[in-house]
Symmetry: C2
Subunit: 458 residues, 2 copies
Amino acid sequence: MATKRILLNAFVMNCPGNQSPGLWTHPNDRSDHYKNIDHWIELAKTLEAARFDGVFFADVLGPYDVYQNSRDAGLRQAVQSPINDPLLIIPAMAAVTKQLGFGVTASVTHEHPYIFARRMSTLDHLTQGRIGWNIVTSYLKSASKNIGAQQLAHDERYDVAAEFLNVCYKLWEGSWEDDAVVKDRKNKVFVDPAKVHDIKHEGTYFNVPGAHLSEPSPQRTPVIYQAGLSPKGIQFSAQNAEGIYISAPTISIAKKYVERIRSKSQNFGRKRDEIKIFSLFTPIVGQTDAEAQAKYNAYKEHLSYEGALSLFSGWTGIDLSIYDLDDHLDYIQNDAMRSRLEIFTTVDPNKKWTIKEIAEFVGIGGIGPVVAGTPEKIADQMETWINEAGVDGFNIAYVVMPETFTDFATYVVPVLQERGLVRKDVKQQTHRHNLFGTDHLPVHHPGKQYDQKNQSVK
Amino acid sequence: MATKRILLNAFVMNCPGNQSPGLWTHPNDRSDHYKNIDHWIELAKTLEAARFDGVFFADVLGPYDVYQNSRDAGLRQAVQSPINDPLLIIPAMAAVTKQLGFGVTASVTHEHPYIFARRMSTLDHLTQGRIGWNIVTSYLKSASKNIGAQQLAHDERYDVAAEFLNVCYKLWEGSWEDDAVVKDRKNKVFVDPAKVHDIKHEGTYFNVPGAHLSEPSPQRTPVIYQAGLSPKGIQFSAQNAEGIYISAPTISIAKKYVERIRSKSQNFGRKRDEIKIFSLFTPIVGQTDAEAQAKYNAYKEHLSYEGALSLFSGWTGIDLSIYDLDDHLDYIQNDAMRSRLEIFTTVDPNKKWTIKEIAEFVGIGGIGPVVAGTPEKIADQMETWINEAGVDGFNIAYVVMPETFTDFATYVVPVLQERGLVRKDVKQQTHRHNLFGTDHLPVHHPGKQYDQKNQSVK
């Protein structure tokens, strides 16, 4: 077939709402059940039954407080708040699935890599090799002030991140040999000490002389995800990431991102299509296009303008409350802001966007396409994105939880399967194996330089 | 009845083996299944069916490397190694239980309290209020050098711990009012911002100006556990702990500990019996005493001397490898060591302990009593401990996992229930409610001083 297999990823957070502020008021929305482990167990079953490849947990560690220079709007509208730790949900979801992968956001600046590496190894063990790590290098300012960390300059953040990652790579790849765990009951040897190596890391930010606490997990290094597209961010991604989440409102913008990622990664000696790119996508399904459109309009009734602007102000760092909802983009004099908002003029150069329209665009599914239509129309659109933008799959945002996912699972997935675009089977395998056909990092990946098989340290 | 209800706690770690080094070689031992989430889910079902009140996860963050000045023996014998993160197991165990509590060890010196407080709130939400926190203030030296932390002086560690705990108390008790989460769909208010308070903490070790990330969890503050009995440690426990785990080989030693804890806690204006004290206890069950004794002897065949001495050397900080197995305690000239080992002479003043006997004592169940006998004999012993030492319950260590727990559950628990000493029912309730009949900290507890109902900050 002309179109390659489409990778499906569900985009969630451990909070009420995610990319659709105000939709928690919709009568069908259950996103406020986030505190209940059964809510997540049910979602895991839904996603695995629909042959999703993964679920991605975003995370933030501070309130959205740029809009009106206050966190109040964010609290009122549950803008990614209140928010709980995403890692703790995953083992319970893993216990009821076999193939679903788990991409989890964790920052490199609030925890020591020696401790963090064990946390991820534990997850990789408990999920039987289905963990991915979305590396985050920055915070909202509202987070960093509570962690007592001065906000590092953007470039230095990437230096810390790079060293943090190297420590993790050394612990995951370079500390325990494959056959270190012997479990020889007869000779009473659980681990052969000669096959466990100190990593002897002495760096600018971290010193870790010892060995990893955990035995090798199925994937060793979790599947590395990234979301950043800043110059330093993309450098980092192009070198390390195995999967990248992008937010692009149109095919042409996505195509530009894809091109940038793929050519940069080639600079690091990687294959052009080695990174799996997931594009944000929000499906709204109806039996007819009209029915889907009506559903979309009904959703929009629940959208919160102050919520959407609080979210978008947090992302851009610019307080949009100083404008009226009917103000046009043209009114905005601030250059940094204009450049951040340029994305909207790209979507439709003939359109004069108002603040209200921006809120409506961002407030349903974030900065990605919303496709309201029949299952066939949605499947068509997805195929077009795959073929024209060159993405590998989609990061599916919900409007109403879990309705968006159950609708998509019930109506769209069978169409995609019928077309041979989505797998029909479920296999017990690691996340990396599902994506790349191999359990471990490829030999040319930076993490592999620490593989003990290429080392003589002890 | 004369005897009070006995609280039952299971003592585990996220590693092969725990307090019985070498027993991983026993054909029935499944402790090496620790990497499998189903292993823990099954254990949770066993414990809840046997009406255990809780399960306690110990943890270490470094290898045992005092013995022979090397980690090798510890690796060979799986002495609490390899070891994974305990927190991540808990939600999956909570999903299949209603009343089982989870005491989890976490140190105050490797993570920021702003991040840690969210982690614990998340666990308290996901378990529906069944989380307890065993506060650890120290590490093995082998851990601290990998975290780049200089080992703080013992007393200063408690100062850091006290401030860490205060930040957590402020976030848990003082940040979100009970009715802050409104979820008013009609007026589109999820959270009332006026009822969320900045904690404005400025301290010696931490600055946390903002509010808690999580909404109030069922217990707010997790049930506070401690295990330390050093002078500063007991000061800390007597003030903060709601439950204390002790390791005492005999009733008279346990009684001394209990007396010390209860009188110290009264100094802080707490009720004499306000702290629940759990004593280490290892039951080995047989249909006859002879059968139980034979089982014990068979277990002992699998004990690892180098494993037991590696464990005990790590606990005491003294390398016991310089002695022969047949050396008597009398040979030991080192004062610090003699004082740490005095516990053995207290067990039996007429006995001349050899290093080998110490290894055999420590190596089956740690520094607590091992009772091998019929279910009735074990129940009798437990009653005696409750009545004479004044403990509230037991922290049950396993020799073989899960055999020790399934044997105890199958044969001893029914006897205890028959005597009215162990509950028969299971109720969905918080861990604190199960222990104390109330979901939240009592008003005179130090954590309650930050309760927003007594505050006017914003």
